[in-house]
């Protein structure tokens, strides 16, 4: 086994330029595939957090969990009449005039907001009832993007707010700024209105129900999940490119292995006549394929980890937490294996067409 494998690798090393060309090609589908998986897993982790026990009351057909919904205090009364003791109000909107200067903003009920989303305060003091007006907690990604620290000022719709804390949730919320409900009402000129009410999922209302006045009930997080899914069509499209590049890589690998094996056909047939098994050509090809596919795939992983991650941060608009899941690495491994096996299959099938005598006569 070792002799055949060493022979295969040595032959490939002699043609290192060809091997390098194919190795670089292997890098492309593997790197692209892993980058897409990184993007998908990032989107799923940050945009698919459904809060199972919570419902959102919002204006029908709006994107209330981001912006666009506006409810009067009448809704609060309606909900209380239905038996909900303490509907949690929130304002969700976007401050800014362009995508680059926009901030996802949330006006929170200072008493109840810690119960809605788990967050970790990385620096400073979280918002409390005693917090000064015009105080803001900002997500760590927003802080990084704007270069802000606790004590700095952040301008929201032309008004300065003091950053009192920087938090981390591990979700898209890390791009948000949280201010008190009263500040948000003043900022957006809402008077006593709010964007949404959040209620527990243990009352008479269910996701999908409607209320008079054009209100709809939905599962908390569902809207964000749907928005994240809007990018799926782009991922699917890129998936086709990955498939095409995979087949191109297989064809190139097969071509190289086939022609190298053809040049070595006499040596291989001699080995077989010396007692090496019928598996010799397969092993020879596998060693050469491995010498190309393994480093090519590792380079692909490295490229996804560096270039892919950087590109994803730009295309997602807001930052995404990208990290390899074991399943992504396993899938990339399966893709590499598929390239390797299919690349071997063509030359091997061709090799098997000849008997030993025919191969020995070939010189």
């Amino acid at each position: 086994v070792t002799t055949v494998m060493v022979m295969g690798i040595r032959e490939m090393a002699r043609r290192w330029r060809l091997a390098l060309a194919c190795l670089l090609l292997v890098t492309v589908p593997v790197g692209l595939f892993l980058s897409l998986r990184l993007f998908l897993s990032g989107m799923r982790a940050e945009y698919s957090r459904i809060s199972p026990g919570l419902l959102v009351v919002q204006t029908s057909d709006s994107m209330g969990e981001i912006y666009g919904s506006r409810l009067s205090p009448q809704t609060d009364l309606q909900l209380r009449q239905l038996g909900y003791e303490d509907p949690i109000p929130a304002i969700q909107d976007i401050a800014g005039t362009t995508i680059t200067n926009s901030v996802l903003l949330r006006g929170v009920d200072l008493l109840q907001y810690p119960a809605l989303d788990e967050f970790q305060v990385l620096a400073g003091q979280q918002l409390e009832l005693s917090s000064q007006p015009r105080s803001a907690m900002i997500g760590y990604r927003l802080a990084e993007a704007r270069g802000l620290a606790v004590g700095n000022l952040i301008s929201l719709r032309g008004r300065d707010f003091t950053v009192t804390a920087i938090f981390k949730t591990g979700a898209y919320l890390d791009n948000q700024a949280w201010i008190s409900l009263a500040d948000a009402q003043a900022l957006f000129n809402y008077q006593q209105d709010v964007s949404v009410y959040i209620i527990p999922d243990d009352g008479p209302l269910r996701a999908g129900d409607t209320l008079p006045g054009g209100l709809v009930i939905s599962q908390r997080g569902e809207m964000i999940r749907q928005i994240g899914e809007e990018y799926l069509s782009v991922v699917n499209f890129m998936g086709w490119v990955v498939q095409i590049m995979t087949v191109a890589t297989v064809a190139m690998l097969a071509n190289i292995l086939w022609r190298l094996a053809w040049q070595q056909r006499r040596e291989l047939s001699l080995l077989r006549s010396l007692g090496f098994g019928a598996w010799t050509p397969g092993l020879y090809l596998a060693a050469q394929a491995l010498a190309i596919v393994l480093p090519g795939s590792l380079l692909g992983v490295l490229i996804a980890q560096t270039v892919g991650k950087e590109v994803i941060q730009h295309i997602a608009g807001f930052g995404l937490d990208t990290r390899f899941e074991p399943s992504a690495l396993l899938s990339a491994g399966a893709l590499s294996l598929a390239i390797l096996l299919l690349g071997i299959a063509v030359p091997l099938a061709w090799f098997r067409r000849f008997d030993l005598a025919e191969l020995l006569r070939s010189e």
Binding site: R15, S60, D61, S62, G96, T98, S233, N255, H314, G317
Partner: protein, 374 residues
């Protein structure tokens, strides 16, 4: 040896090793396809992000809002400036604008005066009829993306509307549902409030001057931005700029892969034919002539691969646009291979192929004839 003889020699050579040629062609075809898909994608992004609008089309939105949906313009304000604006020969068209989920699809809802749809909003009726009260029209993109057809009923904000026709809009292919301003005012219970106001300057008016004059109207009190429609598009499409840059880079990267494909195709051939090449040199072929033959061989293969790739990519994109249309932010991106893309891609591919061939041939042709014959 004349050109015809050289061509014949190249074709015979390719045919003699047809299995290897087929695999090399497959590699080059798929690489070309990869470039074409990515370039088509990048082009659709570019067209989307660099959307041009008529230089006469102005739009007014509330100052400081990101999405026009959040803008509020009171009808009294518009009626206040209408006589003056129309006195300048311009047309003014107030509209209600929302992003909504209709039947589970995120689309734009635009309520504008019916009489302005063609003249101000540049809509053309593609199929069916212009809507009457209780009816809506949908853009072709919305129809394709959602499967809604003429005669379908859409429940919008709790009220059922019938689709009377499909419309074609110049500019960005938003997935949009259009209804009359009267209907949208009734639907949202806001007949006295708009989100955007379109203003179309008269043909010979200085649009920039008109824009500045409207914006500085005392009654608007500096609360509104009046901008060219193109500027609003640019603001809206900023979100895809990152995607545009990434797709353009990927398309460029894909085409450079042809260097690798061409390199391996030539290298494999030369390695196996070192004796044949040496004999050619003995019979008087110079290194330059051999390079030319190899370049011609590479050009043939690349041209064939590019043509086949273009046909396959066109078919695949047609299928993709039909079955799984690309959609970003309620905008349908029509990914197509355009002639300029092919005209740019072909010479670029040729350069890459020539480079790959030259690199692979260079070292092998540097051998002496004696070395090659051994």
């Amino acid at each position: 040896m004349n050109l015809a003889q050289t061509l014949w020699m190249v074709l015979s050579d390719l045919w003699a090793d047809r299995s290897r040629t087929a695999l090399s062609l497959l590699t080059l075809t798929l690489m070309s396809m990869g470039y074409m898909l990515l370039a088509g994608f990048a082009e659709s992004m570019r067209l989307f992000s660099e959307q041009a609008a008529g230089r006469r089309d102005l739009v007014m939105v509330e100052r400081g809002v990101l999405d026009p949906m959040n803008s509020k313009i009171e009808a009294t304000l518009i009626e206040g400036i209408r006589p003056w604006v129309e006195g300048e020969g311009a047309r003014i068209s107030p509209c209600q604008f929302r992003h909504m989920r209709i039947e589970g699809q995120l689309v734009q809802l635009r309520g504008c005066p019916l009489e302005d749809w063609q003249a101000v909003h540049h809509l053309q009726l593609a199929q069916g009829a212009w809507p009457a009260s209780g009816e809506v029209a949908i853009t072709e993109g919305a129809s394709r993306s959602t499967g809604w057809e003429i005669g379908d009923h859409l429940v919008i904000y709790g009220t059922s509307f019938t689709v009377s026709g499909t419309v074609r809009a110049s500019g960005i292919k938003f997935l949009a549902v259009w209804m009359s301003l009267e209907d949208s005012g009734r639907l949202f219970g806001a007949t006295d409030r708009y989100q955007v106001v379109m203003i179309q300057a008269a043909p010979k008016t200085d649009s920039e001057q008109l824009r500045a004059a409207i914006e500085s109207q005392p009654s608007l009190a500096g609360l509104f931005d009046v901008m060219f429609l193109e500027a609003l598009f640019n603001r809206y499409t900023e979100v895809v700029r990152g995607l545009l840059g990434a797709s353009q880079t990927l398309a460029l990267a894909a085409i450079t892969l042809i260097v690798l494909g061409s390199y391996q195709a030539t290298r494999l051939s030369l390695e196996e034919r070192s004796r044949s090449v040496a004999i050619l040199r003995v019979t008087g072929f110079s290194e330059g002539q051999l390079h030319s033959v190899l370049q011609l061989r590479s050009l043939w293969m690349l041209t064939l691969a590019f043509l086949v790739g273009a046909i396959l990519a066109t078919g695949l994109l047609g299928y993709a646009n039909h079955v799984t249309p690309l959609q970003v932010q309620s905008v349908q991106l029509d990914v197509r291979l355009t002639l300029p893309l092919l005209l740019l891609g072909y010479p670029l591919s040729l350069v890459c192929a020539a480079l790959g061939t030259w690199i692979s041939a260079r070292s092998l042709l540097k051998q002496t004839v004696a070395e090659a014959l051994r």
